[in-house]
């Protein structure tokens, strides 16, 4: 049925472009308008990014001039060596990697395990527990930071990785996303595996997981990006380069150099942005899928 729907829709699109262009873009005027709007959008997104990158390659006297210069002449890559020598850049980078790796891994594992229990295992109170987990989505982090800060400080965990990582590890979103995925698996396959005598863990590992890879990849990507970009909690937990991730290190740098020395600050910004942007360029399809499938079923 859905195959037919898809087919007829495709035909509709091919035969009648209006089915796709919807409300705009009929006729050459509409097309021209469409392209003009597209160029405008492109400029609004790209020019600031271009400006940041160009500034990161400018000498100080070429930054503080009016009118502004749009090309880095003379070319001055020393901003990059300056920023990496002025702040312990590699330490911040290492911290970001450690925090992201552990937080994301734990979240992914916990999300999968919770989702599996809540979708394919049978026990009393299952739906209630699901609601309890889901409701955590409605509680903003900012409301919990004061009390969490007190707890972690009491444990003596400030400026430690466990102090940053553990409080971030519970996952409501991941549980929710993976549960929907598991529930969408064809019932017959699950039943057949059970008939064949597969135990619950074997069922998860051999049947459920292999069928769920695309969703798992999408969920993992979103989690990695979110943890990499996490700011408030690591910021509150870290006083210096022992545990501060890149974003926090960048604002430390900004405290010293912002406004007065934009060159190295922009170089630091570019270095902070780059890893995630590269990841995005390679894997944007999967990332977008994770976001939209989260939206689809919430």
């Amino acid at each position: 049925m859905s195959a037919i729907a898809r087919l007829s829709r495709t035909n509709g699109r091919a035969g009648m472009p209006s089915a796709e262009s919807g409300i705009q873009g009929r006729g050459p005027v509409g097309k021209a308008f469409g392209y003009a709007a597209m160029v405008l959008v492109l400029l609004i997104i790209a020019v600031p990014l271009f400006w940041i990158v160009v500034t990161s390659f400018k000498r100080q006297e070429n930054i503080y001039v009016r009118p502004a210069e749009y090309l880095p002449i003379p070319f001055h890559p020393e901003n990059y060596s300056e920023v990496t020598s002025r702040i312990p850049f590699s330490a911040y980078f290492r911290n970001s990697v450690i925090i992201t790796f552990f937080t994301a891994s734990i979240k992914i594992v916990l999300g999968v395990l919770s989702a599996y229990a809540l979708s394919l295992l049978r026990f009393p109170g299952r739906n209630l527990l699901f609601v309890v987990i889901l409701a955590a989505l409605m509680v903003p982090n900012q409301i919990t930071v004061i009390s969490n800060f007190a707890l972690v400080a009491q444990l003596g965990w400030r400026n430690t990785f466990q102090g940053i990582i553990i409080p971030l590890c519970g996952t409501a979103f991941g549980t929710f996303l993976m549960r929907n995925q598991f529930l969408s698996l064809p019932h017959e396959i699950i039943e057949a595996a059970r008939m064949d005598g597969a135990g619950p863990l074997k069922l998860l590992w051999r049947v459920v997981m292999p069928l769920s890879w695309p969703t798992l990849v999408a969920f993992s990507l979103i989690t990695v990006v979110n943890e990499w970009n996490e700011y408030l909690w690591p910021f509150l937990m870290s006083d210096d380069a022992r545990t501060a991730p890149l974003q926090v290190g960048l604002t430390f740098l900004q405290n010293n150099d912002g406004v007065t020395n934009w060159g190295p600050v922009m170089a630091g910004t570019v270095l902070t942005i780059l890893p995630v942007l590269l990841l995005f360029l390679v894997l944007q399809r999967q990332m977008i899928k994770g976001l939209t499938s989260g939206a689809v079923k919430s």
Partner: protein, 343 residues
């Protein structure tokens, strides 16, 4: 077939707006939901019925799988939520081991303080502007880039890219973009003969700077969600409107918007929740200033009172008030959308 794509109208949907929208997804677009084929129609709110009661082993296994996550959520989400309320009745200063009970005096102070109104106004302006503008612009972009235009895939990626960049980095970078003396904006304005507003010193312009930066960064989210919804819409309705000779505006208002309603509802809640929580961009760009509270929002005030002024009790009071406001607003949204759906 009608029934099949009929459900598909809710391809991107807010499940809470009604049970029927739960049966999502017939034809899945390229960005469509996972595993669309053979979806259990009971998804997402009705897991398969318990055919046989689980064995004791299964029960134990479920407990083992769930307990770590539950413990973490209780310890770091629900416990502090309650504890926060307790703290709001104390004069705790974040570092001392002792906190004295002070009754409702923090709340009384909050009601009477001169900056409360400023912070609430800032929060309202920032939240309203970011939610409305990012939804309107996101939908406009989705409509634009849903058309057959050459190069649209590149533009799609470009629009979405800022969403994956960290807010702190964007904040630092855009502080320079808005630099009133040497930034990009002042240069572009100078080229058309306009003097740049002082984004650093004037509270209104600082709020404008923070708000537009947030929209620039997060537009990609509303765009992507709306685009997925558009791609999952009913082509036959478009064709019918075409045949009926509906004007573009009528087509948009009568055919497209109603189909996008669940998406709009979903976005209005998620975008609101995330924009109320913004900390990193404001911290990186203004530290809540200028003039003390020019861009101070509720969330930023929670941080500022607790960790800068060392008045955790008062910070907890602001956090509690913020949580109550969020609860009420979300409830109103749900009601509003429910009514709209029935009308």
């Amino acid at each position: 077939m009608g029934a099949d794509i009929g459900v598909d109208a809710g391809g991107v949907t807010g499940g809470s707006s009604g049970g029927s929208s739960g049966h999502t997804s017939g034809p899945a677009g390229p960005t469509g939901p996972a595993g669309a084929a053979g979806r259990d129609p009971r998804v997402p709110f009705g897991p398969p019925p318990l055919r046989r009661a689980g064995s004791k082993g299964e029960w134990l296994l479920a407990a083992a799988l769930l307990i770590p996550n539950l413990v973490l959520l209780f310890l770091f989400v629900y416990r502090p939520l309650v504890d926060n309320i307790r703290l709001s009745f104390t004069d705790w200063n974040i570092s001392s081991p002792q906190a004295n009970y002070v009754g409702a005096s923090n709340y009384v102070e909050w009601l009477g303080r001169a900056d409360t109104r400023i912070v609430l106004t800032n929060t309202l302006i920032f939240t309203f502007a970011t939610v409305v503008l990012s939804m309107v612009l996101g939908l406009a972009l989705a409509l634009l880039l849903d058309q057959k235009l050459r190069g649209r895939n590149i533009v799609r990626s470009m629009v979405f890219a800022p969403f994956v960049i960290s807010g702190a980095a964007i904040g630092v970078a855009f502080q320079f973009v808005f630099d009133p003396s040497f930034g990009l904006i002042q240069d572009l304005l100078a080229k058309i003969g306009v003097a740049s507003p002082n984004f650093y010193q004037r509270p209104g312009w600082a709020l404008f700077m923070v708000t537009s930066t947030y929209i620039w960064k997060n537009l990609g989210y509303t765009f992507v969600i709306y685009l997925a919804a558009l791609q999952a819409r009913r082509g036959d309705l478009d064709e019918a409107a075409e045949i009926d000779g509906a004007s573009r505006w009528n087509h948009f208002r009568k055919v497209l918007l109603p189909q996008l309603r669940p998406t709009t509802f979903f976005l209005s809640i998620t975008v609101l929740l995330s924009s109320v929580q913004v900390f990193d961009i404001i911290y990186a760009m203004t530290r809540g200033g200028p003039i003390g509270n020019g861009t101070m929002t509720l969330v930023f005030q929670v941080y500022h009172e607790t960790f800068v002024n060392q008045r955790a009790g008062y910070g907890a009071t602001v956090a509690t008030v913020m949580f109550l406001i969020l609860l009420v607003v979300t409830a109103v949204q749900v009601r509003f959308m429910d009514k709209g759906a029935r009308a």
